[in-house]
């Protein structure tokens, strides 16, 4: 049972950090990451809040690296750039 408790409580701790991060992120951090989030509604930020909880680590990493919204690459985009 100990292994199960370690897994479950580790996830709880990760998610608890995620809740705190998500609260900060949807109010302040989101516009640093994506310009299209500037001036968005409470409803939009409420929806984003729930995703920011499990993915807080990835968002924090992108914010710390100063990364902006990327454009997806595919064979045509790559070849056009050559």
């Amino acid at each position: 049972m100990i292994w199960a408790e370690i897994i479950v409580y580790s996830v709880f701790v990760y998610l608890a950090i995620g809740v705190l991060f998500a609260l900060w992120f949807v109010v302040f951090g989101i516009t640093k990451l994506d310009d299209s989030a500037k001036g968005t509604s409470i409803g939009f930020r409420f929806l984003i809040f729930f995703g920011a909880i499990p993915f807080w680590f990835l968002l924090a990493k992108r914010l710390l690296k100063g990364e902006k919204r990327p454009t997806e690459q595919n064979a045509h985009r790559r070849r056009a750039e050559k």
């Binding site: 049972m1 199960a4 408790e5 897994i7 479950v8 990451l33 994506d34 299209s36 989030a37 500037k38 001036g39 968005t40 509604s41 409803g43 939009f44 409420f46 929806l47 984003i48 729930f50 995703g51 909880i53 499990p54 993915f55 990835l58 968002l59 992108r62 919204r69 990327p70 454009t71 997806e72 595919n74 064979a75 045509h76 985009r77 070849r79 056009a80 750039e81």
Partner: protein
């Protein structure tokens, strides 16, 4: 289309879609629980809720999974695809109700944490009849949760496309886990074969339609020799007016549109979720409209009309003897190209 995010960009079509979806769910649950309480008077309301929401969730997941291949087989099904994300979120919410009631009923009355209880209360992994099927359901629900909370376009843009797509491809893992959850769970105690037959039909539909659609698209992915010169792609006559002929050039599909006596070619891949632009059409506004979510591009420039900022690569085209030639090397996304005159 991008510019400023909104919570949900409602329009008439989405409202009708959601109204039909939620009223369908409500009717199913009312019928299931109502008839269940009549046909199985010994079943408690909690049990009927668990069964009703569980069967509803797996039914919705089947619909979610067959919409994609159905649309590739016939464009008639595209209206189902338009708001599929709401269908997916609804599937998670219905599954979550099933899970919450199941946890309360079977795991909340002990002294250990209910989630820990799911993991340790049954460890007969080598038994079919007593397999700990609830763990399969729990993992599937976590996947559906992660998909539901990242269904907004913000997440596609900011998780980066490879992570977002990998995450959303996990729906097939969730589906396999749920088939196991049902087969090793409720089917082990079910005396009637009806549920097993329905589950089998669902599985055959999901697998069969995916195979048929993959087979149908095999020809589209045959690569035309990709040097940087012009390559023969199709004839003018092959392209329906205001629509496209799709060919694979330079490692990806190209959509070659015919409209108003002109031919233009753009990359087939919509900047939003990689929708198939070549399966869309050119409307009265002169824009190519992606059939998946309505993103628009001008055929001459591959750019969305202002104020939107999406762009796709364009291709130089020429016509000789009724044949359309496309230059294999794409232009940078949003580059204006003079259409070939027919």
């Amino acid at each position: 289309m991008s510019e400023k995010y909104v919570a949900i960009s409602w329009n008439r079509q989405k409202k009708i879609y959601d109204a039909l979806l939620w009223s369908g769910v409500a009717v199913y649950l009312l019928l299931f629980i109502g008839l269940g309480s009549f046909l199985q008077p010994n079943a408690t309301i909690e049990t009927l809720i668990i069964r009703g929401f569980g069967t509803c969730a797996i039914l919705l997941l089947h619909i979610v999974l067959i919409i994609g291949p159905l649309c590739r087989i016939s464009p008639k099904f595209l209206p189902l695809l338009y708001n599929r994300r709401h269908l997916g979120v609804t599937t998670f919410l219905i599954g979550a109700v099933h899970a919450v009631f199941s946890i309360i009923q079977f795991h909340a009355l002990g002294t250990i944490n209910p989630i820990v209880s799911i993991l340790v209360s049954n460890t007969k992994f080598n038994s079919i009849a007593d397999f700990p099927f609830q763990i399969l359901g729990l993992i599937a629900l976590i996947i559906l949760f992660l998909m539901a909370v990242t269904s907004h376009d913000f997440w596609l843009n900011n998780l980066t496309a490879p992570i977002w797509k990998t995450l959303h491809t996990l729906v097939y893992v969730a589906y396999a886990l749920l088939i196991g959850h049902v087969a090793l769970g409720v089917l082990q105690s079910e005396t009637s074969p009806i549920l097993a037959i329905l589950l089998g039909i669902g599985l055959v539909l999901v697998v069969g339609l995916h195979l048929i659609s993959a087979f149908k698209e095999t020809d589209l992915d045959k690569e035309i020799v990709s040097v940087d010169e012009f390559v023969e792609a199709c004839t003018v006559a092959e392209i329906p007016e205001k629509r496209a002929c799709i060919r694979t050039i330079s490692g990806e599909r190209v959509a070659i549109f015919k409209y108003d006596g002109k031919i233009s070619a753009v990359s087939n891949v919509c900047q939003h979720q990689n929708g198939p632009l070549g399966e869309g059409k050119i409307g009265d506004d002169g824009c190519i409209t992606c059939p998946w979510h309505g993103f628009q591009y001008l055929p001459e420039t591959g750019a969305s009309p202002p104020p939107f900022t999406e762009k796709v690569p364009t291709f130089n085209v020429k016509i000789e003897d009724g044949k359309v030639f496309v230059k294999a090397k794409p232009n940078k996304a949003g580059t204006r190209v003079e259409p070939a005159k027919i």
